[in-house]
Assembly symmetry: C2
């Protein structure tokens, strides 16, 4: 039996990295992955799996996929399978793929939390969990659906892979090359670290923006407040407009790390607040604000370079 | 003695609303006010007062002001005096203007807090406090200095006036017309309400963004976190890059309202947090997030219309 991530077809140097790709969920993330590999000449045939026929028909018409197939056929034919579905749908997808999964196939995902996905994969795949390598492309857009697919979506963006103990080294190396062919920079880390870092820089800002937005909207004079809100308010609250269902799932699946980071935020907020209440300390207040301002300006300069 | 806000010169219908304007502090806010009135043909002569000769020279060269004068001369000649200085400099400015202030002159300001400015004016002007009408144009830019002055800065923006009990009705009406000539929409409210509303939609977001930014920057793995921060993080923290000195003064001068609104925010945060900790309640979590998302999308739609 061949090892996962090492396609059995030997097609020579000119053969694509991924002879047969299957994408479960052909929206922004999955469609862009297929389109990027196609543009790079690194995919042979693209199979699409999805719940809605209308989405699959549009993906076919757009040339994102070559065929619409079911889970069993994707499992029997694909070298690489990307699960571009909400985390809540992954257990079902893995269970549907497992009976027919080729031993040399690799399955990956694009979910925004990783410890829970690893646990789900372990339960759904059992002794074949080494064929699953969790991943998270840090890229997105406000748009959804196959029409939003963009071969340049991953260009210059970061993709985090969180290998399991069971993941063979060559599968890790192969999936890294595949994402690099999409233009992405690949980082490897363990799932716990990924989840803590993402809780910090992505999930907690959303949590705070939602709490803040609801508080303003509930005020007795909310209309007056909102009529006087300017550009600072606009940027600070923008993320609060995101899908409640998507973010509910993210918070629930990364619960422990989000709560830890919220605790750390609350300690910082208390410290800043103490410089203002009772006996205000203008120097400590300014020093705290200056630390935040310098860190933010430094980040701006750094992110402008990448 | 004429009443404040009613220029004694009677020049007929074609005369400008403001025969002689004095601006203390010719930067973005003060320079744009002079430029807007000049473009509208509603100002005769513009006097500039400032600490730094280099700024005054540049304002003269740019045609923003006609003459650089001292406080005494501005007080003796101007019909309207705009204090476009930090709140911390207003007491000194008012004390310097008072001895020579014409009885028919009106003084206003552009500070972002109003209760404290009213109290300062009451102390500095004494029985002439009726000649001071606090104001706050909700407009700004990242740029500073006379070069940043823009006659269109106030176009379509809101300006809040917070009249004192001593403010004559005609002074209120006249200053409203002056700001309208700059293209602004004028709202009247009392200073306490202004300060509470601005604490809510401007000061608290800055406070939270600063606390959050400092917490991330202090983490042991801050570099990794910041390297994985994306566009949500960018928008949520943008305001934290603002001047620490300016924001220190704003928080100190609007302390009570900021602390009250922080309390209200913390109650909302606690409520949202309770849906996630111990015994998570996915429905309540989603309902809270949905309320925030709908409020934010509604605001976007509304603000897009104005």
């Amino acid at each position: 039996m061949s090892a996962p991530g090492r396609p059995k077809r030997e097609l020579g140097d000119a053969s694509p990295l991924v002879p047969v790709l299957a994408v479960v969920g052909i929206g922004l993330i999955g469609g862009s992955f297929a389109a990027a590999l196609r543009r790079a000449g690194q995919v042979g045939r693209v199979l699409g799996v999805g719940r809605r026929k209308s989405s699959l028909d549009r993906a076919l018409a757009l040339g994102l996929i070559d065929e619409a197939v079911d889970y069993a056929e994707a499992a029997r034919r694909a070298d690489l399978i990307l699960l571009a579905t909400p985390v809540g749908a992954m257990r079902g997808a893995l269970e549907a793929l497992r009976p027919d999964l080729r031993p040399q196939a690799l399955v990956t995902d694009a979910g925004s939390t990783k410890s829970d996905v690893a646990a789900i994969a372990r339960e759904a795949l059992g002794d074949r969990v080494g064929q699953f390598l969790p991943g998270h492309p840090i890229a997105g857009s406000e748009m959804t659906g196959p029409e939003a697919a963009d071969p340049a979506l991953y260009q210059g963006r970061k993709v985090i892979l969180t290998p399991l103990d069971e993941t063979p080294a060559h599968a890790r190396a192969w999936l890294t090359r595949v994402w690099e062919a999409c233009g992405a920079h690949v980082l490897l880390m363990d799932a716990e670290r990924h989840d803590r870092v993402l809780a910090s820089v992505s999930h907690v800002p959303h949590f705070l923006a939602a709490a803040y937005m609801a508080q303003v909207a509930r005020a007795a004079d909310a209309d007056l407040r909102l009529s006087l809100a300017g550009t600072g308010f606009r940027d600070f609250t923008r993320i609060a407009a995101g899908s409640a269902e998507v973010w509910r799932d993210i918070f629930l699946s990364n619960r422990a790390a989000v709560l830890d980071e919220l605790d750390a935020f609350s300690r910082a907020l208390d410290e800043l607040r103490r410089t203002l209440e009772n006996d205000p300390d203008p120097r400590a207040l300014e020093a705290f604000l200056e630390q935040a301002a310098l860190a933010r300006r430094l980040w701006d300069g750094r992110s402008a370079m990448t």
